[in-house]
Amino acid sequence: MNHRIVSAVVVTIVALFALAAGMFTWALATATPQQNLKAFAADNPHPPSRRTAECPECHTVEKGTIPVTHRNYDRDSCASCHRLAVPVLVPHSIAMGDVRCPLCHGDPGRDSGVPVSHLRYETDECLLCHPVDAEHFDVEPAPAGLARSYAAPIPHETGGLFEDCTYCHQIGQRRSLPENHRDFALETCEDCHEPSDGAPGN
């Protein structure tokens, strides 16, 4: 048999196997619940600060969070193969508390916004995984507002009819506040948003 035919057959077979490996990956990805996929994003194989020396506290065969074939491995052996992520430390004071984190970091896609994959966590869980950096514990956060932009001034008068913010701005059905403001009391609006002296548009 012509040896060039054999070589061509081998090349074809290897290409088919590579294609099959790709299809296998695709098949598994489509069969995986979307929530699981988020947890395994390529650049975020694991919620970083959940990495502790006590991996088996969360990773159990029963929960399906490790392959059952790992059930007999030593508890200390995780790091032999699996990367321990470096936690992202908060570079400023956290005097405002957990619930204020979303004020600046709530919107994915904005400067310093949280990754999309973090949306599944509760807003008061941030500091569980992201402790403050000891060298910057007393650094004031950047000016309030989303990311590095200043809070927009209130585009209307604040007296008279406008004295009660809640009259218009609700977080209920009308949702006239941004989503990431839902944890803030309305009487604190002017802590960040300075009233302007003009009509809307000024």
């Binding site: 070589s7 057959v9 196997f17 790709g22 975020n44 399906g64 074939t69 193969c81």
Partner: protein, 446 residues
């Protein structure tokens, strides 16, 4: 056409065997065991690599079905190239895991805390690299065939054993009972085939020994060994076939080498003797064969091969041989002569010089006796008084001797060194010979 049908059938079976574990993994996939895409891809590459390596054992187990379909030299070429490809998939397996940020370089540098399945995988990977590396660079490393062959077999079995431990002790899919069953069946089957070839088959030859009765030097640094069966009738073979020959007190005492018969398989000598003609090409053929004395115990596994005129019908035969590659063609000519076959036969015999022309006197005498045989001798280096063809066998030389109206209906058998084979595989289709009428066998197949 028959070759195409055979090819499609075996090709389909091969794909099915290699990809079946992936199909099982995808069908029985447990979403709770989900991993990232790079990890899934790594698993797929690992499974393909192991399946390829396991089936490599079957490919060299002298299975009549596969070898009979394509010929041993094609099978061994496939074995070599697929071996290299399987190494590529095996390399992709840890590379993809490391590309996924979930894993560390600790995968490649085992520590005391590293789980044993990971270490087993690493050992299997190193074993695979050694198997492929020693094979690719055997000549550069000056490794003797015997040492290489023994090492190749032992390392191959070891690496597949460690890879099996790795697969069954780690990973998301091996936990599936059906996947474990698939792999256990695969490994038992393929390792079983290999052990049958390496142990059972040689042992079955124990009561069929042979004895060397003659060892004569031939032109072209070759030796013809004549062997007779001891205590049995021997066998008949189809002209052009080969046997695996080895020496020693038992069939297990030495490695066997595939050598074409140079005698007539139709009508063995009275004592059932067969002959092999072996050129001094490697350590065994250069060091052992010339020193084999009459009376030496030998063992033959055969006959094997599909490079034979008995399996191909044609209006005539064109035999193209280079150097000692003329051996199986000489066997064919003897058969054609004793059968009184009147179909036209052309032998194009190429060599570097006159001293390289193995069987030149025998072939010349045969051409005198056979009216239907045209002998064309082509020398690269010839004396001034040489009246034959000069240079290399080419389309010009072929078409000068072959009958224009008929040659496309002949069957072509080519045996010789790589350059001659490569040239003929290119030249013959160019002059209109259909691909399914071209049959080749490379004498340096192992």
């Amino acid at each position: 056409m028959r070759l195409i049908v055979r090819g499609v059938l075996w090709f389909g079976l091969y794909l099915a065997i290699i990809l079946f574990p992936l199909v099982v993994g995808a069908v029985f996939f447990d979403p709770a065991q989900a991993a990232g895409p790079l990890i899934s891809l790594a698993a797929a590459c690992g499974y393909i690599a192991l399946a390829l390596m396991a089936t490599e054992l079957a490919l060299v187990s002298r299975f009549g079905g596969v070898a009979g379909a394509f010929g041993l030299d094609s099978l061994l070429q496939f074995h070599r190239q697929v071996g290299i490809a399987s190494m590529a998939f095996a390399t992709a397996h840890p590379a993809l895991l490391l590309a996924d940020r979930a894993y560390t370089m600790g995968l490649l540098v085992p520590a005391s805390t590293t789980p044993w399945p990971v270490i087993a995988g690493l050992v299997a990977f190193v074993g695979a690299a050694l198997v492929v590396g020693l094979s690719v660079f055997r000549r550069q490393l000056r490794l003797s065939y015997e040492v290489w062959h023994t090492t190749h077999s032992a390392l191959s079995l070891a690496l597949i054993g460690f890879a099996a431990l790795h697969v069954l002790g780690i990973g998301r899919f091996a936990a599936l009972p059906v996947m474990r069953a698939v792999w256990i069946i695969y490994l038992v089957s393929f390792v079983g085939m290999f052990l049958r070839y390496r142990l059972v088959r040689p042992l079955s030859q124990m009561n069929r020994p042979w004895e060397v009765t003659e060892n004569r030097a031939e032109h072209g640094q070759a030796h013809t060994l004549v062997l007779r069966p001891v205590g049995h009738d021997g066998f008949r073979f189809e002209p052009g076939q080969f046997g695996w020959i080895g020496f020693g007190h038992s069939p297990l005492s030495g490695n066997q080498h595939p050598i074409s018969f140079s005698s007539n398989g139709d009508i063995p000598n009275e004592d059932g003797a067969v002959a092999f003609t072996i050129k001094q090409l490697g350590d065994w053929s250069s060091e052992i064969v010339p020193r084999v004395k009459p009376g030496t115990r030998a063992w033959i596994d055969g006959p094997h091969g599909v490079f034979t005129i008995d399996r191909e019908e044609g209006a005539g035969y064109v035999l193209i041989g280079g150097g000692v590659g003329v051996t199986p063609l000489y066997s064919m000519l003897q058969a054609l002569e004793t059968r009184g076959d009147v179909r036209p036969v052309f032998l194009f015999h190429g060599a570097n010089d006159l001293s390289d022309l193995t069987f030149r006197e025998e072939l010349a005498a045969m051409a005198e006796r056979m009216d239907n045989l045209t002998l064309v001798t082509v020398l690269v280096r010839a004396e001034d008084d040489w009246s034959g063809e000069r240079g290399f066998i080419s389309a010009d030389i072929l078409t000068r001797y072959l009958p224009p109206a008929l040659y496309r209906r002949f069957q072509y058998f080519i045996c010789g060194p790589g350059p001659l084979m490569d040239a003929m595989e290119e030249v013959l289709p160019e002059i209109g010979v259909p691909a399914d009428r071209i049959h080749t066998e490379r004498f340096d197949m192992v």
